[in-house]
């Protein structure tokens, strides 16, 4: 399997096939990230698509390191831009859970538990958990992406993780 940096270099020289390989490799991560942040799945996929198109335009500026983190940072910025264009944030509806394509009942229930638990977190905490725990950004990468101080990111992640575990444990018992 070709490395991200090789594919990115080929994509930067205009090879669409190389970029398509990167889209296939990371579509799940980017769509997962945007679905955890946005209110609706359709809106999240629009943001994910915009993120990939921005990545295509800026692929020449990728200088190595984790391609996933680079891409997720772009996706997070696209989410912020999309949110600025919308009316003020409203609370998530309980019915707006992420429904994955995996239809196995146990898996679905697990995913819904995770989504439900995630959506109970305060927004900044949720953002930090999504970026660091779900998307694999380091604390310092998340601090750069969000503009939060490093200590704040660590604190949000630790509290968010603790809250998620508590929620998931409570749902397991119930």
């Amino acid at each position: 399997m070709r490395s991200d940096i090789d594919l990115a270099q080929d994509a930067a020289s205009g090879q669409e096939a190389a970029f398509e390989a990167l889209v296939r490799r990371y579509q799940g991560n980017v769509r997962g990230l945007t679905r955890r942040l946005a209110r609706h799945a359709a809106e999240a996929d629009d943001i994910a698509q915009a993120a990939f198109l921005t990545a295509w335009r800026k692929i020449g500026s990728y200088r190595g390191g984790s391609f996933k983190s680079w891409l997720c940072t772009i996706a997070y910025r696209e989410f912020l831009q999309a949110r600025r264009k919308q009316r003020p944030e409203v609370e998530f509806k309980e019915s707006a859970h992420i429904l994955a394509f995996d239809t196995s009942a146990a898996r679905m229930a697990e995913h819904m538990d995770l989504d439900r638990a995630l959506k109970t977190l305060p927004e900044n905490q949720r953002i930090c958990v999504v970026l660091c725990v779900a998307s694999g950004l380091s604390h310092s990468e998340a601090a750069t992406a969000t503009g939060f101080p490093l200590g704040t990111v660590k604190s949000h992640v630790n509290r968010g993780v603790a809250a998620l575990r508590k929620q998931l444990a409570a749902e397991d018992v119930a």
């Binding site: 398509e20 579509q27 799940g28 995913h111 725990v133 604390h139 630790n158």
Partner: protein
């Protein structure tokens, strides 16, 4: 304080969700505008460049004639400019101006391409 390493279990759950989101339809949605953009970009750039080169070449004959006609007065003007004390720019102001224009143009092109 705990480190990044203490939530592998949750990361695994999120990764399982992400795996379930693989979709050829989504990839096609992303790649359609990419292909469209690529299809037009090269012909547009090369076309515009070719037109520019063509226009420049077509003017070369006229330029040589004009230079020949005005060579004497041009030399005189250049000599006058050189003779005028203009601090550090007194040596080659025309060249400095031309270089500045080229640099600004290059920077503008690079900035536009990266934007």
């Amino acid at each position: 304080m705990p480190t990044d390493e203490n939530y592998h279990d949750l990361t695994a759950l999120f990764e399982a969700q992400d795996e379930a989101l693989q979709s050829d339809v989504f990839v096609e949605h992303v790649m359609q505008p990419v292909r469209k953009h690529s299809r037009w970009r090269a012909p547009l750039l090369f076309g515009a460049g070719g037109l520019g080169v063509g226009a420049a070449l077509s003017q070369m004959g006229g330029l040589f004639e004009a230079v020949n006609v005005r060579a004497a007065s041009l030399s005189q003007s250049i000599e006058q400019v050189r003779a005028t004390p203009l601090d550090s720019f007194a040596t080659e102001p025309l060249w400095l101006g031309a270089i500045l224009v080229v640099i600004v143009s290059c920077v503008a092109i690079v900035a536009t391409e990266r934007a």
